[in-house]
Symmetry: C2
Subunit: 190 residues, 2 copies
DNA sequence: ATAACTCGTTAACTAAAGTTAATAAATGAC
DNA sequence: GTCATTTATTAACTTTAGTTAACGAGTTAT
């Protein structure tokens, strides 16, 4: 479990035993049951999440309807906007599966970063990378049709289709559950 | 001109005169004519862009057709994925207007950051902020119809409708120019 | 065990976007 | 200034997504 974290960090910086121990002393690891809501709309939280095992999901309520916008699975991280801007969250985050998470707090990060400037470097590299990746995801979404987006998802995250309900996938693809169902049956006919 | 940069930086960190002078010595400011292509598909570049005045645009070619995915205007920044991953760029970047830019290079940033760790902190804060903002833009895009996206754009970036051609706006909204034209005439009738 | 919900699918219908083509106005090139 | 190209609009037609409703299978609660 710790190994997963340290392996991940080693992609960016190398740590001394001292630094490892500081991280371990922070009580970052949390095991969370499926269905647990980590963040609610309107809530102010300074927590960030990093998924070690399992899946978390962000969603809005639009006209009383749930609209799923993202799934975060193994090795993916989410810092909600509210953690940076101190404004209430616009969306919910919940666990789609029993999930093993690293939950870190903005204040705690501040403290660790000021003690070990190395972490600033890692965070900078990691967020710049995520920003560019997310930009490309957004671009792909914009430049493709629902059908292409579905096929793209099949290629890139085939696991999601197994682990997540269809109607959540549908809004993740920007369409209704009925459209997704239809689209799928259209594809098998070909 | 320098003032714009330093005002921006002061939102994150405070600089000494020494640090300011190092920045100024780097020859970061560039005045670029409308139509200039800053980055081509397939090209490897380590440059990042920050718009002081004007507008730059990123676009793909899909089946020989230009597909615009983003506009960056005053105080907005773009680090192309290729600058981080050393892979060839998937898209083009060009100037939509005569533009005043800060162009920084990854190697140069590395050097400045190692000399002034403060910059790492600033970059971390700035990219984390952008990441969260872009996430929300993506969420809004997913959860709304082309019409809502257009109305949303009218609210949030009304200037874009004046400074950018319709057909580029259309693909920015994820639709064809014909659909945008129709959508607009549908709206005026209401 | 039954009742109430949720989930995925299908169908019929409506609304809107994609496609193809034609046109006119604006822009740029020579 | 003329010609060619680009841009925005409109129209007719096709395709696909949204909407509403119904159905059965699976789940959950009591």
């Amino acid at each position: 479990m710790e190994k997963i974290l340290f392996d991940f960090i080693s992609k960016y910086i190398s740590l001394t035993d001292d630094e490892r121990n500081v991280l371990l002393s922070l009580n970052l690891f949390h095991s969370v049951k499926k269905g647990t809501v980590l963040l609610k709309e309107g809530q102010k939280s300074k927590d960030s999440y990093f998924v070690l095992k399992g899946c978390i999901r962000s969603y809005y309520f639009v006209d009383g309807e749930e609209r799923t916008t993202a799934f975060y699975t193994e090795m993916e991280a989410l810092t909600p906007a509210c953690a940076l801007s101190k404004t209430p969250s616009g969306y919910y985050i919940s666990c789609s599966e029993d999930t093993l998470l690293i939950i870190s707090n903005a204040d705690m990060e501040e403290e660790v970063n000021s003690k070990f400037p190395k972490f600033d470097i890692m965070c900078r590299m990691f967020s710049a990378e995520l920003l560019a990746k997310q930009r490309i995801d957004f671009d792909e979404f914009k430049t493709s049709s629902p059908e292409q987006r579905y096929l793209n998802l099949l290629q890139k995250r085939p696991d999601l289709l197994q682990r997540v309900p269809q109607h959540q996938l549908a809004s993740y693809l920007g369409i209704t559950p009925q459209s997704l169902s239809r689209l799928r049956s259209r594809l098998v006919k070909k």
